[in-house]
Amino acid sequence: MLIPHPLLGLRDAQEFTYLGDASLMHRPDPAREDAVAAFADYVFLRDNPAGVHRELWFHEAGDRSWLVVTRDTTTHEILGAELASDVKLGGVQ
């Protein structure tokens, strides 16, 4: 696989470590009343779509950036990649 790094261009996926669903960026508010239930959903449940999936890859043997990669899980086609910190600070989702 090749990951289209937003800064570095196409890079061998072997340089990356995969984490999973990008929803992991949205850690629940620990102060909310149903925090335990919210955290249980956050930690354990996944949409796991057959199709377009937004997911986190860490460029471990590269620039050490976390990326949000949009990829089709049925074809492995990659539709885009962004720096996770930009996504988070940009308030996406």
Partner: protein, 982 residues
Amino acid sequence: MTRLSKGGLIDRDARLRFSFNGTEYSGYQGDTLASALLANGVQLMGRSFKYHRPRGVFAAGSEEPNAMVTLRDGARAEPNTRATMTELYDGLSARSQNHIGSLERDLLAVNDLLSPFLAAGFYYKTFMWPKAFWEKLYEPAIRRAAGLGALSMQADPDEYDKGFLHCDLLVIGGGAAGLSAALTAGRAGAQVILADEDFALGGRLLAERDRLDGAEARDWVAITRAELDSLPNVRVMPRTTVFGVYDHGIYGAVERVADHLPTPGDKVRQTLWRITAKRAVLAAGATERHIPFADNDRPGIMLAGAMRAYANRWAVTPLKHANDPIAIFTNGDDGHRTAMDLIAHGARVLGVIDSRADAPCFGQYEVFPGATVTGTKGRQSLYAIEITRNGQSEWHSVGALGVSGGWNPNVHLASHHRGRPVWDDALLAFVPGPNGPQGLIPAGAAAGKGGVADALADGMQAAITALLEIDIAAKPIPLPQAENAPAAQEAFWHVPGKRRAWVDFQNDVTVKDIVLAHKENMRPVEHLKRWTTLGMATDQGKTSNISALAVMAELTGKTIPQTGTTIFRPPYTGVSLSVLGGGDTGPHFRPKRLTPTHHWAEAQGAEFVEVGPWMRAQYFPQPGETHWRESVDREVLAVRSGVGLCDVTTLGKIDVQGADAGEFLNRVYANMMGTLKVGMVRYGLMLREDGHCYDDGTCARLAEDHYVVTTTTANAGLVYRQMEFFRQCVWPDLDVQLISTTDAWAQIAVAGPQSRTLLQRIVDDADISNEAFPFMACRELTICGGLRARLFRISFSGELAYEVAVPARYGHALMQRLMEKGADLGVTPYGTEALGVLRIEKGHAAGAELNGQTTAQMLGLGRMVSVKKDSVGAIMSRREGLAGDKRRLVGLKPVNAQKPVAAGAHLFAKDASRDMANDQGWVTSACYSPHLDSHIALGFLEDGDTRMGEVITAANPLEGQEVTVEVVSAHFVDPEGGRLRD
């Protein structure tokens, strides 16, 4: 000898000796083992898998099902090697396979007589009674007969390599279409790789008598090759099989660098290339199929196209006796080409048996229109065939028979991403479908355009199209004048009859087996394959699958496309495990990390142990010590009574800086880090977000906005990754910068009551007295006359102890210096074994306790999970399953101090029966404590914290041991911690 007197792409001046089954033969440069054996009149080359039928060569390429040999001898023996793909070299030695006794008199040929009992799926229906006999009798017998070739059982002595290539256009296959594609792209200046599995470029152009620009095709091939070789932007890779298509334009290819040489010499034998291609042209050609008929598997029967290739490229006929007549059986025009080529080479042709009633004739030979072959004779060499026309049969003497059932485009790579090929009614074949891998364009015969003129034009057009997609403008090139050979054919798939008609030769699958599969409702094509083993042999059914589908379609009344194909999977042809495994099978299998004092420890005679990627000194045997325990006991006691030195560089170190560094660490550690004073260290516990313990270590605050944290050796990379995750993905608003510094510092633990005394001798001017530098202090200072260092007063052993860090290049010298300066103090280097004993004595958790399944409470660290703040894992650590877990880390002391406790033993109340219901925990770590002169252990025990003093049993039924132990505090040594603080 059946070598033709002239012609062929062989160098008749270069005679090569070789042996087959111990008999010496000779051939020429340019031969394959198959062509050379045929030239020597050898028809019988192997035995089939199941019935051990005598078999000769059937094809001329990588689709060969029959002529499988074990090539070379000794450790280089290579089983299941296709004679058709083996380039002849001087001294080649090969043996046939899968027979007991000689190839000619294989004792297992008895299986053939038993074939009625061995029909498709027979083994699923029997061998079930009596029950025990399957494993004791039946299966061992089946296993004895299994397999084809044998492993040498020796390590492969050759070297292998891997590499990466990048190009604009990868052209797979160097026949007419591939050459024109490569030339088009090469002239356009694109970066081009042209790969072909053959040792000579040209593909079928070398096997046919096509004329290009009025000359022999091989002339055009040579000129084209020369031009491609001259272009700096084109890499021509013969002997290279592109075996798989992976995601995003990555292709796997194996280059057989030295397989054509007697031994590789200073070359690698093969190289695995991972080719990243922006676009690719699949010009892999087509594979001829046969027509199953009665007894169609005899040596002397082969594909008609292969027969042509042998005659045209290698100047041989597949006969045992040179002047025997040859017959052709075909359902189309293509078979006639073989007859004409053979005649042109002066061979005797009996005629062409053409299933079509209106069969044409293209030359001076007899045609049997509307006829089929319905029988053959000749157990080890064909000598007669039965031709049936209008119900009339007659036998004819022949020495060989060519069979042509049409050509299947080699769609394999185009289907590696599970896109299915589509049926072409005109072509009577599957062609690549629309859902192939992105960027891969089939061309030429692989796309169903097998005529030479068509293939040349299609290859060129494919290159132009592919390059246009990546913004490279390629112009059409002048193509040589060529003609498409007549290729009309009819759909004629097999000759019905009562005798066995082979479909899959290697695995002995016959039309009858398909009929049986149909009868038993094994009709989906995957069931057919699995029930009969069709297409599962080493040739992966290249010559058999489509014919089998056609037979099944006929039985079910469906069309062939409705019947469908099985899935095409990599590799296209078998790839050696050695080349995929890359070569470094020994000590360099995975890289080693060496500590800064590794060479010093080596010089001291240390024993080393693998700890993940690291090599660590395990213990330092001294003269006279005969058992590791003696060394370890000595090292442990030295620390407890004097001072010891241990390289602890392997612990991960992460530099954390920024205005929000303290807040960040508050969030990733369970306990509070933001309140840590500058110049102090705190033990840190890290949870996973699911609330279980993840890692532990220390946080040292070097400045208001600067911490150095340590991790366990095993988790260094993981903790760094997790911290970056939180920094970038969860809290990017915090001002924090992280970088790993594990390797930068050589860190040496100086532990024991004399450690301060020793350190005072190397510290330049800093005051490290207990008052100035108390327990859990840290400081940047200089030692040994100005060397930058960091000193931490932390202890893993429970003794007064420090860790001193210096730039890694000085670790070796620092260790030497400490040894010198501490000689009078009895300074002693210690390894991981003593480190382990010391920490067990002190009750510190390590890998066996922090195994990812345990909680802070279990470790007795529950109060470290701060409730004053949120941190990773804090919320989930309060779930009932974790909060209610009553297991606690305890110390275990055998009642008989000299009786060892085994880590991994399970804990039981003294009189409880030894079963799961009464299982109350397990021993995590165990050792002999020289300090206490007793074996000791740590373990997790139900309600352990309330059971001090209870005598329980550590049961280890696996090794037949039970040890009575007393439950004690995990802190065997100095539970009050006074030694740390003095």
